[in-house]
């Protein structure tokens, strides 16, 4: 008997008793949001990953500006800087003052500017997909959790079905079919269509986690007396769901969102790698890594730059998501 029930209860008790003063401290006029911000500010991991994220987002937003300053466009080819076999001239894959991360073997396009645009595509798809999945998940979860009964059973059943479908096989089958349905096999698929298809595919599968999370939170909150107080005052369903409950589940939603984004970044890369993602003309991480695999031995720099960037992006998002979780709920960790 490693821990008798008595001791367990006692430990739980002392945990709560030394948490108590946190609540008691008078932090005059500070909203819960401001407290979270204060905690984030003190967390070094959060600050570093936050700054990295901000730089990525800035680069994505300012890509055309960077292109103008840099003076190279993403689809511009520099055949004269390649040797006869198509390998870039110079060291480390052709790194030079004009081409910071070198050139692609074969087509001779500039890797740096393609990566800047790759970040833009990745973040656009990932943020878009995360936004859509979170919205669907929150609405379904909050409705299922609050109304319960038949509505809850139906929504939960749909959630289970969606979870049971194998994502990758589904995506591999659906995405090309989808494109073929609207465009011929020889037509160029427009970028917006490819991007939307990806977001829809992610959204169709990604909402389940958020829905379950939100449903659980709402179930534990709906019997709370502040909800009953609103009901006793004659509040309608909308008021109770979105004014009373939603502000209390922002924290887990935000965390789920910030952890969903990096999974869609890698998801997009994976699908593009498998050839069902974006068309060749759109700069994307998945495409770049897919193409670079052939040159792993001859031009390792081509793999290295996009690889390290996507790694940094995903890591920064995950670290920030974790830090956010700690800041939102300081009792969860430690």
């Amino acid at each position: 008997m490693s821990l008798s029930p008595v001791e367990g209860a006692a430990l739980a008790e002392i945990e709560s008793s030394d948490q108590e003063p946190d609540e008691k401290k008078r932090l005059v006029g500070r909203s819960p949001g401001q407290l979270v911000w204060a905690r984030l500010r003190r967390d070094r991991t959060a600050m570093v990953s936050g700054v990295v994220l901000a730089l990525f987002i800035l680069a994505a937003v300012a890509a055309p500006l960077i292109q103008r300053l840099y003076g190279v466009s993403p689809n511009q080819q520099f055949g004269d800087l390649l040797d006869a076999t198509g390998m870039p001239l110079g060291y480390v894959g052709g790194v030079s003052g004009d081409h910071w991360f070198g050139l692609e073997p074969g087509l001779g396009r500039d890797i740096f500017i393609r990566m800047i645009y790759g970040i833009r595509t990745s973040l656009l798809i990932a943020l878009g997909a995360a936004l859509v999945t979170t919205t669907i998940g929150v609405v379904l979860g909050i409705v299922a959790g609050f109304l319960g009964g038949v509505v809850d059973s139906v929504i939960s059943w749909i959630t289970d079905v969606a979870l049971a479908l194998p994502f990758l096989i589904f995506a591999l089958a659906v995405v090309p079919t989808f494109s073929l349905r609207f465009y011929g096999p020889r037509d160029a698929v427009p970028t917006w269509f490819a991007v939307t298809t990806l977001i829809v595919v992610f959204a169709a599968f990604g909402w389940t986690g958020t829905a379950r999370l939100v449903r659980g939170q709402v179930v534990s909150l709906r019997e709370r007396e502040f909800v009953e107080a609103a009901r006793a005052s004659g509040a309608g369903l909308g008021h109770m769901l979105f004014r009373q409950l939603l502000p209390n589940i922002w924290a887990p939603i935000l965390v789920a969102f910030s952890l969903a984004v990096p999974s869609y970044v890698t998801g997009e890369a994976a699908l593009s790698f498998l050839g069902v993602g974006l068309p060749e003309s759109v700069p994307s991480f998945g495409r770049m890594i897919y193409r670079s695999i052939d040159y792993l031995q001859t031009d390792p720099a081509y793999v290295f730059f996009p690889g390290i960037t996507i790694f940094a992006l995903v890591l920064a998002f995950n670290l920030f998501g974790d830090a956010l979780r700690d800041a939102l709920d300081p009792k969860s960790s430690r």
């Binding site: 029930p5 008595v6 209860a9 006692a10 008793s17 108590e20 003063p21 946190d22 008691k24």
Partner: protein, 367 residues
């Protein structure tokens, strides 16, 4: 309790611990106990220099509000604090053994055998997946490793019967959810007593119970004490409960003892303004029901940011009697009126007597 250190408070090493060694003195002796927690927002002085003693066969009632340090005191005695974030200093001696600074394993061996605890909420203190009887038997076998299953079982059934659970042999195999609130608390008590502990700490043992069941449990505790001659610490916010079962009372406020003495003295001739406040703010079954209660103004203080001087001064109606003294100087616990009756207040004995007679007794206590 890895990091708990025996920091001598104030004076260098205390060489005098004379009478307790023999075992004739108080079974539990606590001296200058200090418990500190490090939290995100600062250091919490949950207990700040509390001393008391409990003899075998006697009951000490510790009274206070939430945040007064009453529960933390008991958990520190049992070594059930979070060692990582807690610093304990002072002396706790149980049956002549010094506990502060002892290794976790050694305290564990004492816990359950020499001292045991009863919690407020038996449902969360009992494990839902094991039968009640098995948990009691298990608690017995922890300290009697040579006892066989059968022996432990018969001991547990015996204990269940002694705490007034009908059909104990049948009840042995039932689970906590099959017990009613009162029965669960009886089972908790059976588990606490299964190893014949000499010290029993009951933390709000009846707060979660109905009044008619509370009366049963308090009677049970009194009967068991007579039988086992254990020392009992009863922690409660309810002065009514204290008046029924305690021999001595310790009133705590903001981590310090403000009044300490026999139950007759503390409840009949209270000396501290906080005790006065507690007594006159409790609604009673006697006296004028239409008269307003006399509450203590204000709120309990934050333990991170205690008021200067006497921690009670912002809520005390007589804080100004001695000028600024209550705001500046922390009052010491001193003898008041009668031997063994201690109070920590700057008011002079004469002032206290006059105020109590003319202002307090009129409205509250003497109702």
């Amino acid at each position: 309790m890895g990091r708990s250190e025996a920091v001598p408070s104030g004076e260098p090493d205390r060489p005098e611990v004379p009478e307790q060694r023999s075992g004739d003195g108080p079974y539990l002796q606590v001296r200058e106990l200090r418990v500190r927690f490090d939290t995100e927002d600062g250091v919490v002085r949950a207990v700040d220099g509390v001393s008391f003693a409990v003899e075998r066969g006697r009951t000490l009632g510790i009274v206070g509000e939430s945040g007064s340090g009453k529960s933390v005191t008991s958990l520190a005695i049992l070594g059930l604090h979070n060692a990582k974030r807690t610093t304990i200093s002072g002396e706790i001696s149980v049956g002549g053994r010094q506990l502060v600074g002892l290794r976790e394993e050694e305290i564990r061996r004492l816990r359950g055998r020499d001292m045991a605890m009863i919690f407020q909420d038996p449902l969360s203190a009992l494990h839902p997946y094991y039968s009640v009887g098995r948990q009691i038997a298990e608690a017995y076998r922890v300290h009697h490793p040579r006892a066989g299953r059968r022996e432990a079982r018969s001991r547990a059934v015996d204990m269940l019967g002694r705490v007034g659970i009908p059909q104990p042999a049948k009840r042995f195999d039932q689970y906590p959810h099959e017990f009613s609130g009162g029965m669960r608390q009886r089972a908790m008590i059976a588990m606490a007593l299964v190893n014949d502990p000499d010290l029993l700490i009951a933390d709000e043992p009846t707060t979660a119970l109905d009044v008619t069941v509370q009366a049963q449990i308090l009677d049970l505790l009194a009967d068991l004490q007579e039988e086992f001659r254990s020392a009992i610490i009863l922690i409660t916010h309810d002065l009514g409960v204290v008046s029924q079962v305690a021999d001595d009372v310790l009133v705590m406020y903001a981590g310090r003892a403000v009044e300490h003495g026999s139950v007759e003295r503390v409840l009949r001739a209270p000396q501290h303004p906080y005790t006065w406040g507690l007594l006159s703010s409790v609604p009673s079954l006697h006296g004028d029901a239409d008269a307003d209660l006399v509450p203590i103004p204000g709120n309990p203080p934050s333990l991170i940011n205690l008021p200067s001087g006497c921690a009670f001064h912002p809520r005390c109606r007589w804080a100004d009697v001695n000028g600024d003294r209550s705001r500046i100087e922390v009052p010491e616990l001193r003898e008041a009126g009668q031997a063994g009756h201690l109070v920590a207040c700057h008011l002079s004995a004469a002032d206290r007597e006059r105020i109590y007679r003319d202002e307090v007794a009129q409205v509250g206590v003497a109702r």
